[in-house]
Amino acid sequence: MDSMFDLVPIWAGIIGFGIIMYVLMDGFDLGQGILFPFARNEEDRDTMMNSVAPVWDGNETWLVLGGAGLLAAFPLVYTVFLPALYLGVFVLLAGLIFRGVAFEFRFKARTSKYLWSWSFSVGSILATFAQGAVVGSYIQGFETENFRYVGGAFDWLTPFTVLTGLGMIAGYALLGSTWLILKTEGKLQAWAYRITPKLLAMVVAVFIAISIWTPLMDPMVKARWFDQFSLIWLLPVGALLSMVVLVRALIKRQEGLPFVATMGIFVFTYLGLAASKLPYIVPPSYTLWDAASAGESQLFLLIGLLFVIPFVLMYTAWTYWVFRGKVKAGMGYH
């Protein structure tokens, strides 16, 4: 690190922001695919898909930014995670491909429509599971030697990562159903109100299981949380409060708050995870500083980002504004 000052914390913040942006934004549209098989009828499926059609591409771009940003700022993460999760990454990408093309093809299909509904749904579920498994693998840690992954092909697939994968599916489904409460009306919205509590119950169950399992598995995490009382306990409290807010909003039949509260659950859980593991970014061996790229590379990109990201956020917000309001049945776009 020979730059004038240490950019690593700033970059950790930027990448962290990019990841949570991705999780929240692609989460609600992947959630539509997870909920697809359970929807009441074809018309509802059309509306669900229409509610995310204009924005999904932009949402997925945050994933690409996550990949490229890691390569730029913390290359070690990129070059250990991807080989370690080799087969999982393939599942993730295949899933994203099938659901991505389903957006274009399903609207144009007549007799083969059900095929693309399946493609959308199975693709979304696989991609979500793989993302959950990535989180699980991060908590588990990686076998490395001399800055290279040396573990096996299936180290990423353990009971623990299966649990985090399933938890992610429940979580994205919850984001998806609260998004529907916000964006739809009538019978579809009523259905979304009905399934949301069930999804929340699943999320809570996984949340508790992971919270017990992780400290048992990793002494460092245990020490962090239990050796002395610290402020990080505010994070799970925040997550629990968000859940309470969500339940109350559902009872009062509020439309916007459930979605916001669900995002709150995700943000607090995410920060809690970061608080458990950081500064280890390729656990158990390497910290953020071990994984960082050259200072001048971090600086070169940072300068550009400071100019560009505000514009990106502005026009992204603008497109959401253009497509604001309720999505109605039969409002076919294509």
Partner: protein, 467 residues
């Protein structure tokens, strides 16, 4: 049989990147075309332009969708199969690829949403702006990705310290020696692709007598464009070759099938390069022509493959033939454009069936030429991953086993075959539906949108609509 992860990874990379590449070349050209159509529509308010634009936007949506999903795969290939390469070059490639995402991909994605779904939801001026920004985004994107690729061909501005490359000069690294040529050559290739596809489809509709007015307009417009850019491409390609001669002479030797350093080198029209014997069989050539093209002197001395150790030579026959396919098709394109100019007198371009039929066939040639061009460039770089710095085998992921690479290779082939079939099928459907009858879903939305259109487009300046 021993499964070689290196060979399988190369095969996989070649497959996924070739698959990806055919979509961007088309969407880059088509995006500009749609922006131009929207511009005409905005200025003249003539329905012909809107009909054309709506139609091509529907095609665009399908192709772009496939470009995006196959591109996402590319972003992760570097890490999964080439992690040592990524680790070594991250200080340069990381920022470059990130700049591509933040300056291009977000722009394309956001305004694509508006272009596809926003007709009638935003004022016409903003709609036009969205079409333009999507087109601009595709060029920004090609700039960065071609900078990355050109840097792998002609690396500059970096220094190896230990295992890692460090950037010593960003401007030298980004604007490396082959970037200008590659960027212009690729931009022209995209216009040629967009142009020949639009010309081919319009010709096909004219053969069937459908939407004659709009298709005549489209055909005339694109033939003018092709008349200028097809010859320009040959000229830029020649400059590109001279640049390569300076920086990667081995590649040019392979392109020319020239084994011996000598003067008065013939331009080979046909030959069968034999790497074992380091010579050619069945040679047919024009004497002195290669010397003349490369040195502007029939007696000029041209370096041959004898300058390069055997293990540093690329597979010659692949480079040799890919190059010939590209150039051959380039010449065919020039011929097609000139024929169009000649037939223009007395309007025969619109009616001569043989010409319209050959244009329909020509719409496939740019895709072949583009792939052949990339094969020349990439295979000719071998055995180097980063020219002169890192070889293929050094870049491979160490933990990658043969069966893993084989699994994902088969996986990608299967997945891509499925979506490619689907995509082709829907494109054919769009073509059969034609421009006259917008699909059912669009008819449904039409009344609501049409009610807004005349108001916002004709009577009211667009600031009014922008409230």
């Amino acid at each position: 049989m021993e499964l070689d992860p290196l060979f399988l990874s190369r095969l996989q990379f070649a497959f996924v990147v070739s698959f990806h590449a055919i979509f961007p070349v088309f969407t880059i050209g088509l995006a500009s075309y749609i922006a131009v159509l929207e511009g005409f529509a905005f200025k003249t308010n003539h329905p012909t332009w809107t009909i054309l634009s709506r139609f091509w936007t529907r095609v665009f949506a399908v192709v772009f969708g496939m470009g995006v999903v196959s591109g996402i795969v590319m972003a992760f290939q570097f890490g999964t199969n080439w992690s040592n390469f990524s680790y070594t070059s991250a200080n340069f490639l990381g920022p470059i690829l990130s700049y591509e995402v933040v300056t291009a991909f977000f722009l394309e994605a956001a305004f694509l949403g508006v272009l596809l779904f926003g007709r009638g939801k935003v004022p016409p001026g903003i709609f036009l702006l969205s079409a333009i920004l999507v087109a601009v985004g595709t060029f920004i994107s090609s700039f960065w990705i071609l900078s990355a690729n050109s840097w792998m061909q002609t690396p500059a501005g970096v220094e190896m310290r230990g295992e890692l490359l460090y950037v010593t000069s960003w401007s030298e690294a980004i604007f490396n020696a082959s970037l200008p040529y590659r960027f212009v050559h690729m931009a022209l290739a995209s216009f040629l692709t967009g142009g020949f596809v639009v010309a081919g489809v319009s010709a096909w509709y004219l053969l069937l007598g459908r939407e004659v007015k709009a298709n005549r307009a489209a055909l005339s417009m694109t033939l003018w464009l092709l008349l200028f850019i097809a010859p320009m491409q040959a000229w830029v390609g020649d400059l590109h070759g001279l640049n390569t001669l300076e920086h990667q002479p081995a590649k040019v030797s392979a392109m020319e099938g020239n084994w011996e350093t000598k003067s008065n080198v013939p331009l080979l029209l046909f030959a069968w390069p034999d790497q074992e014997a380091q010579t050619n069989h069945f040679v047919l050539g024009i004497p002195g022509m290669a010397s003349w093209i490369l040195t502007h002197d029939v007696n000029g001395v041209v370096p041959g493959l004898d300058q390069v150790a055997r293990e540093d030579q690329p597979p010659v026959w692949l480079v040799f033939w890919s190059f010939r396919i590209m150039v051959g098709l380039g010449l065919l394109m020039i011929a097609a454009a000139i024929a169009g100019l000649i037939l223009r007198r007395n309007g025969a371009v619109y009616t001569k069936r043989w010409y319209l039929r050959s244009l329909t066939f020509m719409s496939l040639t740019p895709f072949v030429a583009v792939l052949a061009g990339w094969f020349t460039t990439e295979i000719g770089r071998g055995p180097w991953l980063i020219y002169g710095i890192m070889r293929f085998e050094e870049g491979l992921t160490p933990s990658l086993q043969g069966w893993m690479a084989l699994t994902t290779l088969i996986g990608y082939v299967v997945v891509y075959a499925m979506i490619f079939t689907g995509g082709l099928y829907y494109l054919m459907r769009i073509l059969r539906d034609g421009m006259e009858h917008p699909p059912a879903s669009e008819q449904e939305e039409a009344p609501e949108h049409r009610a807004k259109r005349p108001l916002s487009a004709v009577d009211v300046p667009f600031e009014e609509g922008a409230r």
